[in-house]
């Protein structure tokens, strides 16, 4: 199991480990990054952080390893939630568009560096150009 120290301003959580598929991969979440997005984007970002990030980390439809354009080993957790959230103050859920997937990007140190909806192939549910963007599908 990868062991990473919990730094100040971060929280540790568990994600599916692409090596074996168990829920034992330690991941760090940065408070500053969440704070920036939630304080500006509002409730919909809050719901993404509380519901969709753990869904991607713990119920991924795929995990890709090696984020080529960042030159890091890193991981991309992909999930296909039933809905997405909208609204800065009053949040409502809408059905997910079939050509969108939710992705959480994790760096070599196990820190979440980005999460967002991405364009995806409607058939596979994988991010567009996944064959060239990532080194391999790990799960």
């Amino acid at each position: 199991m990868m062991s990473i120290p919990v730094r100040s301003g971060y929280r540790e959580t568990l994600a599916i480990n692409p090596d074996g598929g168990r829920l034992d991969r330690k991941i760090l979440i940065s408070y500053n990054q969440l704070d920036f997005l939630i304080r500006r984007r509002g409730e919909s970002a809050h719901r993404e952080a509380i519901e969709l990030i753990p869904m991607a980390l713990r119920k991924p439809t795929a995990i890709f390893e090696g984020i080529r354009d960042q030159g890091i080993k890193g991981l991309c957790y992909v999930c296909l939630p039933e809905c997405r959230y909208t609204g800065r103050t009053d949040v409502v859920s809408q059905p997910r568009e079939s050509n969108r997937c939710f992705c959480v990007y994790v760096d070599d140190d196990g820190v979440i560096i980005e999460w967002r909806w991405d364009e995806c192939d409607g058939k596979t549910g994988f991010p567009l150009a996944y064959e060239t963007r990532f080194v391999r599908r790990a799960l």
Binding site: T13, Y31, R41, I50, R58, Q70, Y85, I112, E114, W117
Partner: protein, 140 residues
């Protein structure tokens, strides 16, 4: 969602302590973990559209307009561009960089760009210029 699928209660409380929607856009955030800058032009829901190895543009779900961006490898780009274009150093210091300069310098340094890529870079640079947004390059 079951507890197994969600965060532990302490993490949820940690997240819930963040007050949503109390700050305005445009704004930029340098993330030292990803060596990246998130630039939010509007506070709305978006999806990412990859432009090139460095840049992902955020487009609004409702009409695909550009509402922000994610730029990776900031320190590397700043270092490279400063070496190649010494004048670039006048536009930043070790900690502060104007986002518009990052977009423009990276764009002019890129050899092959499509019309769409050029349009996106210029759009973002223009939005950043109008608002004078800067990012502080801090350590993790």
């Amino acid at each position: 969602m079951t507890a197994h699928e969600g965060f532990d209660p302490e993490t949820v409380r940690w997240l819930e302590s963040i007050e949503p929607g109390v700050e305005e856009c445009p704004a930029a955030f340098y993330n030292p973990d990803g060596d990246s800058i998130t630039f939010l032009i509007e506070a709305t829901e978006y999806y990412g559209q990859r432009v090139d190895d460095r840049l992902t543009v955020y487009r609004a779900f409702d009409d695909d307009r550009i509402v922000g961006s994610y730029f990776k490898g900031v320190r590397i780009v700043v270092e490279l561009l400063t070496k190649k274009m010494p004048g670039f150093a006048h536009f930043h210091n070790d900690r502060q960089i104007k986002i518009e300069h990052l977009f423009r310098a990276n764009f002019y340094d890129t050899e092959c760009v499509t019309e769409m890529q050029a349009s996106i870079y210029m759009d973002l640079a223009g939005q950043a210029e109008r608002t004078g947004i800067e990012a502080t390059l801090c350590e993790a």
